[in-house]
């Protein structure tokens, strides 16, 4: 990961969302992107040039554009038409962003398009976040990494975020994933947690 002082940046064409530029690189704001927040509060995972990434819940393509600066290809899945319009604009400017308009809860919809990936990144506002992640693990290589940005309030507003967090960790562990890191994203995002898992060799 590229740091200039304590500012996280990525190398690429700027102006995606009027982000600040620093020494010719794009500043990756932890307040806007949960992945950047993970690098600030925890360890995260090292993005390398050969990586293939499946990104669920791509939204407007803000975080997607930063990841794309680091890796080989990002398959960006988004369901809603409005953010998809923005994501398409990002894809037209970047050769390694593949926009897929489909429901992340139904991975069979994009089976003919997506190859095996090294990193599965998920940031979806759905109640069934853990099960969506597990269903998409078919695309993850063994030894690959799952980064789940858990929106606890989307799972159940009536439950305590800490309880949702623990339940999700249990679900992932019992499905055979190995949790490497799990942190809350405060002070950048509240009621949001990041969970980093690896898919073990069978």
């Amino acid at each position: 990961m590229i740091w200039i002082g304590d500012v996280l940046v990525s190398q690429g064409e700027g102006g995606v969302y009027n982000e600040r530029m620093l020494g010719g690189a794009r500043v990756w704001d932890p307040h806007r992107s949960k992945l950047s927040a993970l690098y600030h509060v925890g360890t995260g995972i090292d993005l390398t040039p050969g990586m293939r990434v499946l990104y669920l819940g791509a939204a407007n393509g803000t975080t997607v554009s930063h990841i794309a600066d680091y890796v080989d290809v990002v398959y960006a899945v988004e369901f809603a038409p409005r953010p998809m319009q923005d994501l398409l604009e990002v894809s037209r400017r970047r050769r390694n962003v593949i926009p897929i308009m489909a429901d992340a809860a139904r991975p069979e919809q994009y089976a003919p398009l997506v190859e095996s990936v090294d990193l599965l990144y998920q940031d979806v506002a759905q109640p069934e976040q853990a099960s969506i992640a597990l269903r998409n693990c078919v695309y993850l290589k063994t030894g690959g990494i799952l980064v789940l940005m858990l929106k606890t309030r989307s799972v159940d507003v009536r439950k305590e975020p800490a309880e949702v967090f623990q339940d999700t960790l249990d679900t992932l562990t019992s499905a055979g994933l190995i949790v490497q890191e799990s942190v809350w994203l405060v002070p950048y995002h509240y009621d949001h947690a990041a969970i980093v898992c690896t898919k073990p060799e069978v």
Partner: protein, 287 residues
């Protein structure tokens, strides 16, 4: 055999699919993969197939296909009749907010210029006050009042359009509760499909989100009605049976929304029976 976007692969051989980006997008949509026995695609197969030269070429072609597919999905979703109605009714409600905010502010400003003026003991409707302010004020205040009046005219036009469009897009729901309120229900649900999938109990409290979540989190009483309060049978009903009327109305609205989504035309026999049921429930309280 596995089907991928560029062709079918199986038994060591590969059948290339010939067609442009949009033809391939069609093909992708028609492929139904089973996740149980699924083998993720390997891009090298596409080269063997003759679909592309190398990885860069592979990604460029795949991206073109995906962009074409996504553009078409977006167009399809936006061409549904309810997509525009949604924006129209939200604009309408926002114009209302803006008119109120601006009128309040302009009135405060006007008071400073006319210290002797007061609205107490006068039955001046807001639009008359705005007119007075426009006529009696010089400079920016006068033109702000003028803008409020213009905005109010736009609002009237838009309200008629919303009503007409709602009658067309959701004839049954509109017949039961009126075009404007039907459109507001649509706006809160997020679309006709979503509205038709809602249970009656959810339709009953659409628009009462704060009260509903206060109820779920604390011990406060649950809301009896949301937007459907705007129906005369609900707000005219005596307090003790208002919840009951709201429940009956919501039940009929849930059926109406489904008729609107799946049938799309007026169902007269349903409307007569539903209206009857709602009226009977509402009237019982009057006796």
């Amino acid at each position: 055999m596995e089907s991928y976007w560029f062709g079918d692969v199986g038994d060591g051989c590969c059948t290339l699919f010939i067609g442009d980006s949009s033809a391939i997008a069609d093909r992708v949509r028609s492929i139904s993969a089973s996740m149980d026995s699924f083998i993720p695609l390997e891009w090298e197969q596409a080269v063997l197939c003759g679909a592309c030269r190398d990885r860069v070429d592979y990604l460029a072609r795949l991206q073109a296909v995906c962009i074409a597919a996504a553009e078409r999905s977006i167009r399809e979703q936006y061409s549904r009749k309810d997509a525009e109605l949604l924006q129209m009714v939200r604009t309408l409600d926002e114009i209302d907010t803006v008119i109120n905010l601006l009128s309040e502010r302009a009135a405060e400003w006007y008071l400073v210029r006319h210290p002797a003026f007061s609205r107490k003991y006068r039955r001046t409707p807001a639009h008359v006050l705005v007119k007075t302010m426009r006529e009696k004020s010089k400079g920016a205040l006068g033109s702000v009042a003028g803008e409020i009046e213009r905005l109010a005219e736009t609002r009237t036009t838009l309200a008629k359009e919303v009503s007409a469009r709602a009658n067309e897009v959701m004839p049954n729901t509109s017949a039961l509760i009126g075009g404007l309120v039907a459109a507001r229900l649509l706006s809160h649900a997020g679309g006709l499909l979503l509205l038709s999938r809602l249970p009656a109990s959810a339709i009953q409290v659409l628009g009462a989100r704060t009260a509903l979540f206060a109820h779920l989190k604390t011990r406060s009483p649950c809301p009896k009605h949301g937007i459907i309060f705007q129906h005369r049978r609900v707000h005219n009903a005596p307090r003790d049976i208002r919840g009951k009327v709201a429940r009956v109305l919501a039940g009929k609205l849930a059926i109406a929304a489904r008729l609107d989504y799946f049938r799309g035309v007026v169902a007269p026999e349903f409307l007569v029976a539903a209206q009857e049921r709602i009226d009977v429930t509402g009237r019982r309280g009057e006796l």
